[in-house]
Subunit: 532 residues, 2 copies
């Protein structure tokens, strides 16, 4: 396509192009300049930047034009939406490419889950790239849905959308040189390999980098970010729903007087309500500009930097030969999105509702993933949830720490009846039911500090995604399990023998098969200037 | 190798490494900082940067340590040395990797020439990468030694040392979309493609970039460099023997307030006497520092920038997982080289003579490339050099312009005898004898302004490398041709029936098969501080 004679003539102004974006302040990511130019587009590609005429002309005077935003690392499943439904949500705030690690669906459905994500990529109005999940299973302490070794991953390595190996979370195994993970690293030598190593430092960090890991998105501390940059990692600056690392990382980088070339934005896990409120990668850009970073650098962290890091040819710039993935802005400092184009086609304009994106078919295997019946064939009864208390009445308790995602173990005297734990006070029973292979395995424990009355259950339970139930009555817990079995997974709330509410997530027990509820205005500030 | 458990243990300080470079100011190319660190090396690779102990320790206190220098674009043949002999010349000034376009030898020997260069790469103490020449033949006006179409080039595309397609000099053919060149561009889509487009601008430049060209090394004008940067080209900043573009380009980049991330150093064509006087890429670095660029940026243009541009994994940085290609400096501002390491092995130390590098065998076909006998089998006689002068006595004359490499055509009255041109005054006869296929083709003309008395001949005649002779007596010209036939090509000087001097270049008529004459001190400043 690049060597199409017709396009070469258009680039030279010898024939009109299809679409001209006329007179915007165009971000030149190569130099960091804003320059008033025309951008000429044909066949989905930018054929030239300069002075052009076209069959269609988009008047961009008074506006800014930047390359589409790239999320350098996310889990689509965290949105609880299919790729198509998520695409619809993120496009209006300017995201035009996603680099996804389908770690969650792979831990439930294995290769079938990965193939679904790869197939889904083809029909989308944005680009979906895949990093193959390196940690399936995610842990050896829990039964997951699948095991993907180096051979299984290699079978998909050369698929067109695959960029490399997804976040290598098991950094202790890397450092000690465990065979399974080293085989995966070798299978992807020369390809991109993402990291995930919270607080790893010194020799361990050097070893992790030596093993071929190229990125990290787990920096929650400024010094940590600087050490990782210095060790040669590119840092994915995460601003998600739970993890907010942007301010910490960018503050440290600025204080050390470093450039932003080795930084790229990501969300990792971001929920729909947050995307609707703040936009997607747009939010990272806006925060960086609010911190005082030059807008050009902020936009480059959302386009050129991730595109170069992941070697996405034809992505991340407004220049000849690059894809016409473009964001037209009413106000570049406020990241006020006016319109979003991918492959030269307008996908959303200010004032429009969230676009309708048709998804690819969902294979039957992905809809049948909740199997909690015991292997012996006995029906699941409340007796399966009975948790005996030893003499002395003390059990290990999972204690929640307010405002933290970490928990703490403490051995405490727990309430009991007839030698069995009985929820009460602030103590709840926790049960994790293996739900992939109907092994009948059930883990039981005690949780304190949640403040819940009633029962909550979910098949979204990182990272093995078994069925987890927390409750104050065994009967309600059993009912919650049956409810999730019935609807193919999701979230449910039960009290006093009644299902209060259920969010069905029938795709792998992780994602809904429906679009998110449409909203007229996707996020505040979309399509209008914050200065206006 | 990266996932070798022994190396992972070394990185964590759990076992001593092979070599520790202790206490240098180490350039961190990722952040642009100079930090006092130990660099730990084993199996030719940097396993960690921090605090280490090793079996061997190199005391680097008071010195600086930087990544080995990369020449982003050169023609080995321009040194008239084989790759091994050139490696010996460039190592002492810190060059540890060459990205070569064997355009010259390919225009003489075709695939055999390319295979020789690729084979030569294996045995060298530095890294030799190859960009496959895109313009063989270089022109349609002259008979070259070979024709390499897209298919022929594709046959070598996946060789380990091949990075992509060499400088696409025929930019008019790209812009008009000629089939032959588009086929080559398509064959290398997704790989690196070098450009060569002096003074190309506006729509033509946009089209050239659209066609997939990634670099340019022909900027002789500041505005030209800025326009090319803005169009998305990376600029190879050339400082060679004939072309001196560094000051122009860097001045323009600085005046425009741009960064240096998209710049990489190259020499293109650099002769041995210049390398011995100034060093190789070292000279580019020194000039940039003298202009006031931060030393970190100057060294990055010689290491990290070209390594990233050409996607040379494991090159261009001092960090875990990178090759131990290191330059130890007595003075980083003066680029005073103390020692040079590749793969962790010391290749040269201050005070040593130029190292001895054993070359790979030279195939017989490359030694038999001068064939000027006419196809009809008649011996070459002076009558072949007779140049008739038409009525009126006027011939087109190639006129030299003092201080320029360009020439000018002018139609002038020329000296003659018996209706034939007769050299005299400032007029010389020029003959180009097809020397590849013994077609007997001879081009004759008149040159003015050279100031030569006698005859000079060469088989180095860009870019088709036929045998070119300039002289004032046909008999001497014939003798010069026979002398070059005898020695397999090179340069020769003849006067009054005597060969005055000959430089034999028996490898393709372009390169000597011997090392350059050894010198005790490779270049001034090597191994000593300019400040001292």
């Amino acid at each position: 396509m690049m060597t199409d004679r017709r396009l070469l003539e258009m680039a030279q102004g010898k024939r009109p192009v299809e679409t001209v974006f006329r007179g915007a302040e165009v971000l030149n990511v190569f130099t960091g300049e804003w320059r008033r130019e025309d951008v000429a587009v044909a066949s989905g590609v930018i054929v030239g930047v300069g002075r052009y005429t076209g069959e269609e002309e988009v008047d961009c005077r008074g506006k800014a034009l930047v390359p589409g935003f790239i999320d350098a690392h996310l889990h689509v499943e965290s949105s609880m939406l299919t790729p198509a439904a998520l695409a619809a949500e993120v496009l209006p705030s300017g995201t035009t490419a996603l680099i996804a690690d389908p770690h969650e669906i792979a831990n439930v459905c294995g290769l079938a889950g990965l193939r679904y994500m790869l197939d889904a990529a083809y029909a989308l109005p944005l680009s979906l790239f895949v990093m193959l999940p390196s940690c399936v299973p995610a842990t050896r302490w829990e039964q997951g849905g699948a095991v993907l070794g180096a051979d299984a991953l290699s079978s998909l390595r050369d698929a067109p959308q695959v960029l490399g190996l997804g976040e290598v979370m098991d950094f202790p195994a890397v450092c000690t040189g465990e065979r399974g993970i080293l085989e995966k690293l070798e299978a992807f030598a020369g390809r991109m390999i993402d990291g995930h190593a919270p607080m790893l430092s010194s020799g361990g960090l050097q070893a992790y980098r030596l093993a071929g890991i190229e990125t990290d998105h787990e920096c929650s501390d400024g010094e940590e970010a600087l050490e990782k940059l210095r060790a040669g990692f590119a840092i994915l600056v995460r601003e998600g729903s739970a993890a907010h690392n942007l301010h910490t990382i960018l503050s440290a980088v600025r204080a050390a007087g470093l450039g932003t070339e080795r930084l790229a934005f990501c969300t990792d896990d971001k929920h729909i309500e947050d995307i609707r409120r703040d936009g997607h990668i747009r939010h990272n850009i806006r925060l960086a500009i609010e911190m005082g970073f030059p807008a050009a650098d902020a936009y480059r962290m959302a386009s050129w930097n991730p595109a170069r890091l992941y070697n996405l040819q034809g992505y991340g710039a407004i220049g000849p030969g690059y894809r016409a993935d473009l964001v037209l802005l009413d106000d570049r400092e406020a990241v006020a999105v006016h319109a979003v184009y991918t492959g030269g086609v307008c996908r959303w304009k200010a004032g429009e509702p969230i676009p309708c994106v048709k998804g690819s078919p969902i294979p039957a295997a992905l809809r049948d993933t909740v199997h909690v019946r015991p292997a012996a064939g006995r029906p699941l009864g409340v007796e399966c949830l009975a948790l005996p208390v030893p003499k002395g009445g003390v059990l290990p308790v999972i204690e929640l720490i307010p405002g933290q995602i970490n928990t703490r173990r403490s051995d405490q005297k727990v309430p009991q009846r007839d030698g069995y734990f009985s929820a009460g006070g602030d103590f709840l029973k926790a049960a994790v039911l293996e739900r992939h292979h109907a092994t009948g395995r059930i883990g039981l424990g005690v949780v304190r500090g949640l403040g819940l009355r009633g029962t909550a259950a979910s098949t979204v339970a990182h990272d093995s995604h078994n069925l987890i139930v927390l409750g104050d009555r065994d009967e309600d817990m059993l009912l919650a399990v049956r409810e999730l079995e019935r609807c193919g997974g999701g979230y449910t709330l039960v009290r006093d023998g009644r299902v209060l509410a259920t969010l069905p997530l029938p795709v792998a027990g992780l994602m809904t098969d429906r679009p998110a509820h449409p909203a007229v205005r996707p996020f505040p500030g979309a399509g209008r200037s914050r200065r206006a």
